[in-house]
Amino acid sequence: AQSVSQHNHHVILSEAASLELGCNYSYGGTVNLFWYVQYPGQHLQLLLKYFSGDPLVKGIKGFEAEFIKSKFSFNLRKPSVQWSDTAEYFCAVMLMDSSYKLIFGSGTRLLVRP
C-alpha cells in the first residue's frame, strides 16, 4: 500500500539553527509532493509543492525542499529557523493515477526555542 513516512516525530531547535525534516514515500508511479504546516490552533497551510521540473523547490517563509526521485524522498529544509516556525509539519503525496489520492505523513512537531 502507498504510504508516506516522516521519521522525525519531534524536533527541538534553537533559533538560527538549520532545519531538515525527512519525508519518504512508497509508490512507484508519478506523484505530486507537498509540505504543509499547521500552526497551533490553525488549519493546514501549504508551504511548497513539487509537480515537475527543478527538483529543488522554494516555498514561503524561507523553506525549500528537494525531490530525490531515486530515494523517493522530499526533504524540507530551512537554513535558519525562527521561534515563529514552531508548528507541526506534514509531508503529503498525491498519486497521479486515476485516484488522485492525497496521502499525508504522520507529521513532525517542531519546537524552536528563543
Binding site: 505530486n32 493546514l44 509537480f51 506534514f90 489520492k101 492525497l102 496521502i103
Partner: protein, 115 residues
Amino acid sequence: NAGVTQTPKFRILKIGQSMTLQCTQDMNHNYMYWYRQDPGMGLKLIYYSVGAGITDKGEVPNGYNVSRSTTEDFPLRLELAAPSQTSVYFCASSYSPGFEAEKLFFGSGTQLSVL
C-alpha cells in the same frame, strides 16, 4: 465565498450512537476528501470523492460511510460510534487535483469524542 464548511465543530457521542458530519463547499469543486487527525498519526484519508455520485475508500474507511449526491455536499456517517473514532475530522476540497492541487481547501474541523 464561505469555502468549506463543516458542522458541527464539537460533538460528544456515546458508544453505539450514530451521527453525520456535514461538509459543504460552495466553490464547485469536484474533489472532496475526509481525513481524521490523531496525535502523532498525522492525517489519515478516510474516504474521498472525485465527483457527484463517485466515492472511494481511503486508508482508514472502516466504521464510516459517505455519499456524494451533489457536488456541494460530502457527508461522513458514523453508524456505531466507537472510542477509536475519537479524533478531529477534516473535510477538504479541490477543483482539480493536478496542477492546481495547491488549491486544497480545508474545513475548520470537527472534534469528536466517543465515550
